[in-house]
Point group: C2
Chain length 321, copies 2
C-alpha cells in the first residue's frame, strides 16, 4: 500500500470542520473541531489553517505531512476550482491554491462524499470491495463510487452525484438548487424527511408530531428518528417510506454499476435499520440478480469518515496511482 505514514485530513462541512492527523492504519492521532458556518472566505481559510496548526502541535511528526481536504462542492478537474458549493463561500475558488501556501505542504482537494467513500473503502463498511457505492443522507445527499478498485470521478470530477438522479418521474421538487424533481435527495434526504414530517404533523394534529407542531417545536428529521426509536408508528412510517424510496435508488445504482456493496451513511442513518430494512427489501423486490444481491450496509466510520478519507486522499490512496 503506497502513501506516507502520517497525513492530515480536513473535512469541511456546511457547519463545522474536522481536522486530524491520521496514520496508515486509519487511526486518528489528534483531532480538532471548529464551527465554520457563515464565515467569509478569508476567515474560513484562517480558521482552517489554525486548526491544522493545532493538529501539528499535538502530533509533531505530522508537521511536514501532506494535507487532504474534503469540501462540500463539486470539483472541476480542469481548473481545480470548486463549483456549486451551497454551504460555504467556495464557488469558483481554487481552494488548494488558496490554502496551500499558508500550510507550506502539498495539498489535495476533493469532494467530501468522495472522501467518505474512500475511508469506508479502506477502513470501513466497503473494505475489500473493488466495486462499491456510498450515499450520505444528510441535509442533502452526497455520493461516492469505487469502481474497478479506484475512486471514480468522471470526466470533470462531478461523478457520483446520485442524490440528483431522478427515481420518481413526477416526484417533488429537489433541493439545493437542483432543477429536477423526484431525485433521491428530494425523497430520502434529511430535508425530505423534515418536509414529509411537517406535512404529517399538519394532517394529523393528534399525532406526536402534530402535538410537537402545536407546541411550537421544530419538526426535524432528528425528532422523527427519536420518536421512531421510541416506537411512534407515524415516525416509523415516515422512515419506512423513506427507506423504500432509498431502496429504489439503490436498485438503480446496483443495476447500473453491479457493485459488491452499497453503503449508506449520514445523519439520517441515526435511524439505522428503520431505514435500511425497507431499503433492502425494496432493492430485492425491484432489481434482478446479481444487482438485487448487492450487500447493503450502514457506514462504519461515523462522522470521522470524511476526515479520514481526506487524509487518504493526501496519501494518494485513491486507487488511481
Amino acid at each position: 500500500v503506497p502513501g506516507p505514514e502520517l497525513t492530515i485530513g480536513v473535512d469541511l462541512g456546511g457547519t463545522k470542520l474536522l481536522a486530524g492527523a491520521v496514520d496508515a492504519s486509519g487511526t486518528v492521532l489528534a483531532c480538532e473541531r471548529r464551527v465554520i458556518s457563515g464565515l467569509p472566505l478569508p476567515d474560513l481559510l484562517a480558521v482552517t489553517v489554525a486548526a491544522v496548526e493545532k493538529v501539528r502541535e499535538a502530533v509533531p511528526e505530522s508537521a511536514d505531512a501532506v494535507c487532504g481536504f474534503g469540501i462540500p462542492a463539486l470539483m472541476d478537474r480542469r481548473s481545480g476550482d470548486a463549483v456549486r458549493c451551497v454551504h460555504l463561500p467556495l464557488d469558483g475558488v481554487d481552494f488548494g491554491a488558496r490554502i496551500g501556501p499558508s500550510l507550506g505542504v502539498e495539498v489535495t482537494v476533493d469532494n467530501d462524499a468522495n472522501c467518505a467513500m474512500l475511508a469506508e473503502w479502506r477502513f470501513g463498511a466497503a473494505r475489500g470491495a473493488s466495486h462499491a457505492a456510498m450515499l450520505t443522507l444528510g441535509t442533502g445527499i452526497g455520493g461516492g463510487l469505487i469502481l474497478d478498485g479506484r475512486l471514480y470521478r468522471g470526466a470533470l470530477g462531478a461523478a457520483a452525484e446520485m442524490g440528483h438522479a431522478p427515481i420518481d418521474y413526477d416526484g417533488p421538487p429537489c433541493f439545493g438548487g437542483c432543477p429536477g424533481r423526484g431525485c433521491l435527495e428530494a425523497l430520502c434526504s434529511g430535508s425530505a424527511l423534515a418536509r414529509d414530517a411537517l406535512a404529517l404533523a399538519r394532517m394529523l394534529p393528534d399525532s406526536r408530531l402534530g402535538r410537537d407542531l402545536a407546541a411550537g417545536s421544530a419538526i426535524t428529521g432528528e425528532r422523527v428518528t427519536e420518536l421512531a426509536h421510541d416506537g411512534d408508528p407515524d415516525a416509523r412510517g415516515l422512515l419506512w417510506s423513506l427507506g423504500e424510496k432509498l431502496g429504489v435508488g439503490l436498485a438503480a445504482i446496483a443495476m447500473t454499476l453491479n457493485p459488491e456493496v452499497l453503503i449508506v451513511g449520514g445523519g439520517v442513518m441515526a435511524a439505522d435499520e428503520l431505514v435500511l430494512e425497507p431499503a433492502r427489501a425494496e432493492l430485492r423486490r425491484r432489481a434482478m440478480d446479481p444487482g438485487r444481491s448487492a450487500g447493503v450496509a450502514a457506514a462504519a466510520l461515523g462522522p470521522e469518515a470524511g476526515m479520514i478519507g481526506a487524509a487518504l486522499l493526501a496519501a494518494g490512496m485513491d486507487g488511481t496511482a
Copy 2:
C-alpha cells in the same frame, strides 16, 4: 493501439446473427447474416460455426483470426456462463467453451450491448471520449459504459443494465422477467412504445393508430415511428413522451457518472430526433451542470455496431489491457 490486424466478430441477437471479418480500422470486409430465432442450442452452435466458416472463406486472411461474440445475456465473470438469456437457449451455458473447440481459435464472449458500446467508442458516436454511456432501445433496453477509458463490467460482469434502473417510482411493470416497475425499459423500449400505442389506439378509435387496430393491423413501435415521420400527431406524441422519459434516464446516468457523451441506439432510434429532441430537453431541464451539458447523440454505426464491437473485444481493445 493493440490488437491484431483482423478479427472476426459475431453478434447474436434474439432473432438473427451477424458475423463479419473486421480490420483494425473498423472496416467490415465480409459479413454473414443468419436467422437463429427458435433454434435449440446444438443447432444454434452449428449455424454460428457455419457462418464463421463462410466469413473465413470470403476473407482467407481471417482463417486463424480470433473470434469475439456478443450475446444477449448477462455474463458471469466468475464462471464465464451466460445468465438470464431471454431470447436464446444460453442460460447457464459457457458459450465460449462450447463454441471455441469447433472454431479452433481463441474466443471471447461478452454482453451484446457492451460490444455495441465498444464499437461506438472506437469508431462511432463516442469516439475520443474517456467516459461514455450507451443505451440500446430495442425490444428491451441494453446498456454499455466506458469509464476512465475502458469498458466497465462491474463486480460480476453485470454492469450497465440501465434498462432496469427505475426512474418512475409508481411506473408500469417492467418486461423481460424484471420484477421492477418504472424501469427505463418499462418506459422507453420498443415494447413500452407498442404497449402505449395499443392503449392509445383503443382510447382514440378515430386516430390513425385506432383505425389500424380496427383494420386488424399489428400496433408496433415501427408503425408508430412510420406514422410519426408521416406527421401523425398522436404517433409524434407517443415518441415525444418516450423521449422525455428517456431524458430522465439520461439525467440519472449523467449525474451518477459524469460522462462526456450519452449515445442512444437500437430500433426505436429509427425515430431519431423525434425521440432525441425531447430527451435532450428533459436532460437539460432535470440535471445540474456538468451532467446537464453531457452530449446526447444517436449511435453512428447502426445494426453492425454489435458485430464490430465483438471483433474489437476479440482484439482485446476494450481498454482494460
